[in-house]
Symmetry: C2
Subunit: 210 residues, 2 copies
Amino acid sequence: MGTAERKEREKEQRRLSIIEAAEKVFLSNGFDNTTMDEIADVAELSKGTLYLYFKSKEELFLEIVKKGSQILNSYFKKAVEKEKNGLDKVKAIGEAFIKFYNKHKEYHEAMMFDHSRLHNFESKDVKAKCVGKDSEGDTIFVDVINEGIADGSIRKDIDPVKTSLLLWGQTMGVLQLIQMRGKSLEVECKTKPEDLMSYFFEYTGHALKA
Amino acid sequence: MGTAERKEREKEQRRLSIIEAAEKVFLSNGFDNTTMDEIADVAELSKGTLYLYFKSKEELFLEIVKKGSQILNSYFKKAVEKEKNGLDKVKAIGEAFIKFYNKHKEYHEAMMFDHSRLHNFESKDVKAKCVGKDSEGDTIFVDVINEGIADGSIRKDIDPVKTSLLLWGQTMGVLQLIQMRGKSLEVECKTKPEDLMSYFFEYTGHALKA
DNA sequence: TCGTTTACTGACTACTGGTCATTTCTTAAC
DNA sequence: GTTAAGAAATGACCAGTAGTCAGTAAACGA
């Protein structure tokens, strides 16, 4: 009989509905201003039940980070398809990042938060990506750089792995700077976030091109 | 009579001793794992007293961040003195950052934490620095880049202000990546943190040099 | 129908940032 | 030396919240 299977499905369904509820609350209120009781309310369950499905508040939060990084990843894949040479693909990835940042600011914020606070946790998707691998084991960044070296659009004396690490770190850093100093940038430096970003692309292009 | 002055001094002294106690606890346990009671214990005062001198736990924490960024600043100043041309000074600043990171990991961590979590607070020293100004109003980064352009060591078509913002953001980002992925870097990418950093310098040199 | 397993509940605990009425100490005038 | 006013410090207390667990309800199989 399919009872066991049905139960399995229902359990998974419940799990997903908790994540959905958590997503709503976390993304609109942030980690610190979200209570487990609130999530339980939205999920129409008691707090205790949440702990049957997730070990802790942080673990539940990580599910949202994971979703965000999956979305980001799909942006990357789409961006790469359109371009012909390696260097353009690198730029397209950068632009995809910005697009993601603009369309999903809440996800981005959650991912940043995770990045800087929840060290102790394992989030394969996010962790792996900055290392050049996404959740499916692809090495988008490294591949694209290698492609660029092969097709002559990227200079030959760079190290693909190190460079992909660098680009990831740099992009995160610059975005973080923009996110936090947005207003003071304009006031104190007369620099619009978009301008700084496109300057960053230009700079990176210059650093990589053959 | 000097009573008032003496009281003033004593008050300042108390303030400093609270900061000192807070520093010990924050730097060894981190923000989240530190309680105000613990700080009060170390300072040999009651918790209530802490709140006579500091508005909140976060404000007290910011004092530590401030100290860190003052130390960092002194590293920068020293680094710049030694070098002759602009590009070398930029590199020296980068190396100073690493030196600071290695010698004062706990401060660096505190500063990172502040950066990513305590948005709402004003920490002039830190905030201003990434914008090219330190607490005394100097614009070390921008100055150094301008110097490099003038002496011909840095290419003329870069924007000093935007570039200094970029370099700051990038450096923070790369360091953050190293700090968080230290072990997995070596395992998954066969890349030592130091190697990645020196590669970063090389890369930056290439991007800036005339 | 009934015993058993599974899912769920919500009152409870432990902890902690922040408050404030009360106590203790200091000072200066008499 | 005494005392009253003011300053400094205290710690019991409050409110909020992550996480627990004994107990209840529902689903199931016999």
